[in-house]
Symmetry: C2
Subunit: 286 residues, 2 copies
């Protein structure tokens, strides 16, 4: 297991942690200012969201690298099925392709893919998962030719209906095995998997080549919102060392990306403070 206590070069910032540059969040910082602040603090990489970079993918990718950082990922492809999809299958695929192109422009290591919820009227997780697998399989070749790995992220079962019929690492690994394409991999996020005591064995089954990302945050015992009240590492109940041990025992040696959605706490703070806390917590509790 890597020792981060005196070296945080494997720490990445997911820009959601600074409030997505939204009005009233993150003190109005620009992408450039985020890049410089991360570089100053010795972060190794940044993961961007589409909403933040618009059509500036190539430029922001270059800017990130020229500051000595990598682009660890892009969030994200559209929801593939369920109530929050942008339209029918063709609209989903068109937007999925666009997301791959932006990730490619950015030089991102991977594109996060969230399944989307249960298909309306189907009442079936299983049928919904089949459609998700079908779309991901269809996009695998396009992803490979663009040089972008797809990181399919199982979300917490609380999102099963609306955002992700894919709710366990087990089901995500099964999907990867069925599709069997080297550019179809998974992302592991503490928030979504902390409760799962089969995590270590499932990740081992996945293997290093099928894990494209590891996301850090914490689950607050008294959380008041399962979307926008994530905790900073150390403030919640997740067994962060054990989870990272499981990820690394499976062979993962990539970035650890802090992704804290926290509309009423961390998003309201000075981004400089937030970044400092990320570094300190990463070195001490992750």
């Amino acid at each position: 297991m890597r020792n981060f206590s005196e070296d945080h070069s494997d720490l990445a910032l997911n820009t959601a942690t600074l409030g997505h540059l939204m009005e009233g969040c993150g003190a109005g910082w620009s992408p450039e200012r985020i890049i410089d602040a991360c570089a100053e603090r010795g972060f190794g990489a940044i993961a961007w969201w589409r909403r933040e970079i618009g059509k500036r993918g190539f430029e922001i990718g270059e800017r990130t690298r020229s500051a000595g950082l990598e682009v660890s990922g892009l969030c994200r492809a559209p929801f593939l099925v369920g109530p929050l999809t942008p339209g029918g299958r063709q609209e989903v695929i068109d937007d999925f392709k666009l997301a791959i192109e932006i990730a490619s422009d950015l030089g991102a290591r991977c594109l996060t893919v969230c399944a989307g919820g249960v298909i309306e009227g189907s009442h079936s997780i299983t049928e919904s998962l089949k459609e998700v697998a079908s779309i991901v399989a269809d996009m695998a070749q396009y992803a490979e030719s663009s040089g972008v790995r797809l990181a399919v992220e199982p979300l917490h079962p609380v999102y099963g209906a609306s955002r992700s019929c894919l709710v366990t690492v087990r089901d995500a690994v099964n999907m990867c095995e069925d599709i069997a394409h080297p550019f179809v991999t998974i992302a592991v996020d503490v928030y979504h998997v902390w409760w799962d005591i089969s995590l270590a064995s499932e990740l081992k089954r996945a293997g290093a080549d099928r894990i494209a990302g590891y996301h850090l945050c914490d689950w607050l015992a008294d959380t008041n919102d399962v979307l926008l009240d994530r905790g900073m590492m150390g403030d919640g109940v997740a067994d962060l060392k054990a989870i990272r041990q499981a990820v690394e025992n499976a062979g993962y040696s990539g970035y650890c990306e802090v992704e804290v959605f926290s509309v009423n706490n961390w998003w309201k703070r000075d981004p400089s403070e937030v970044l400092d806390v990320c570094v300190e917590r990463f070195r001490t509790v992750c």
Copy 2:
């Protein structure tokens, strides 16, 4: 699979569905009025909550039976570990014994047991589960001598931190197997398990003798509160027929108990209407 379309004698009411007799909920109905209303409509059983019956366990049990109904269960033992326990281990055991005694007075078929959340400061689901298993094992003999089966209920992973470190049927079945006592069984609740595509195989592993209850409701796609915004059967995304099929394929042939926590919808309605809807939905969509 049982056919309920013209026979709802296997339908039970969990009184939580009428708002726990709380101020402003359930139109102030008394236990007696609930019993009569269920009897009139041909329900087969009622499951009570401790808060509703106080020290009237024996009396309400007799009253339920004299109306031609059984007492399908009592909710519930105290949280065994985690932030919501009533105190240290001894307080938990004392209250657990009291709950068994009330269930025995009532003549309830089983007592629902919720594990409680992750032990504060432990950051460990696994350690918390061990303590839960230890307490349940300690209480098994007392339960048997009181004639009350313990129905350990895995809750949805969204409650992992606060209310239940036991979040999957798999882990509940493993706990039963480890304790290996005929009075230690599980309860299966649609709200908590609907997302789990391994449900059928895990229930088969449990077997009929280890399933003491089956609870009905639905998971609303646009739920606004994961504690008090449950849906009535048919209004959500759960595959109710498939879940019941899984429960019955495992050998379960007991009551199907409607348990809808819904502070802003069903709890505000006339209990007569709520009971009528329960019957209608049970016959058509469950």
